[in-house]
Symmetry: C2
Amino acid sequence: MNKNLTTIQNVSVDCVVFGYSNEKLKVLLIKRKAIQNVSTEQFALPGDLVEENESLDDAAEKILFSLTKIDGIFLKQFHTFGDPNRVSAIKDQEWLRAFRKNPEARVVTVAYFALVKSEDYQPVPSSFAGETQWTPINEVPMLAFDHNKILDSAYQALKEKLIEKQMGFELLPKKFTLTELQTLYETILNVKYDKRNFRKSHKGKPFLKELNEKVKGVAHRPANLYTYKKGNN
Amino acid sequence: MNKNLTTIQNVSVDCVVFGYSNEKLKVLLIKRKAIQNVSTEQFALPGDLVEENESLDDAAEKILFSLTKIDGIFLKQFHTFGDPNRVSAIKDQEWLRAFRKNPEARVVTVAYFALVKSEDYQPVPSSFAGETQWTPINEVPMLAFDHNKILDSAYQALKEKLIEKQMGFELLPKKFTLTELQTLYETILNVKYDKRNFRKSHKGKPFLKELNEKVKGVAHRPANLYTYKKGNN
């Protein structure tokens, strides 16, 4: 709640935390507290102004914690949003007038993203967040400011990184089947692969190591297990 | 020269324009004009504060033009730098006191980069740029603010994009030999490839189309020509 003097007026950070769990992709949202005027109650990405003496990375981590009590997530900067009108909608101005010293100031926001197992992180609302929730990616409501645009852009970045950088393996068990990998890809990329084609195209990938080990406790044709070999793309 | 009221105090853009020419990789630098105090004369990336009513992308394009008269380059945002002390060195504060209304203000800078054929762009110094030059990447002097760090980070992003996104093909002729491609890669990545290995690993790449055509005007074993197939990575 930045009614103090130590924030810089024109720069904020916003955090897009994706969570993967039970074959669903979700995003962490806060619902901002209502004040006198009910229209200030709105869903948003966790975000706030940057303080005078903190780096952007530190601000992202601290702000995520201050609103959701979630800690220890590696947040990566992915894009900065600076449309001159990104905070000028009436609904947003109402909220800013209640919470900011200088509500008319133009705010450029540096956006961060992360991908975690959502079951490992239970958010607890705090500061100006009245509620927090893991929202399925296809059920995201209208958000504050340009946060829907920021989320779309983060989702795009996530999809690219999943393929190019082999992001996401930390969401699988250390030893996994090709079916588990396929489900992860299908969930995040929102596509369906033909099972045989997926297996064919992935069996030879240098970043996948086939183990001499099969799934236990399965009677009929247990699946082979694989592990991820880092740095082999 | 932002002594007017329309800039936002905390946000600037900086442009890292890489130029490829004659098998050299260069970067576009400005030398800031001397004023009374000689220490204000310093090399820097082209950059300045963002104005109140312009988007970040528009600011990048306009500021590059205002300092170098270079126009029509596609600048891509790649990272935002926000170390709280990035403009607080004595040499930088001297310059800021001469040129900025609020020299103590913390400035977060949104950095852009581009890769062009340097021979196609002749910079002309303007505004607070006293000189402009294409500087070979291995001869870059100490720059203003954290611009060496920004340049290093842009160079890293360039190398990644060259490989992952097949950036850089627009620097080659429409029909090129594998030797020309190898030279481009070697120059930008600052590595040496074994000729046979390079040919072997690139001949089958889906983004390269072998043409039924050879280099003309060469007596002995003229090289095959290739062309780039977009969207085949």
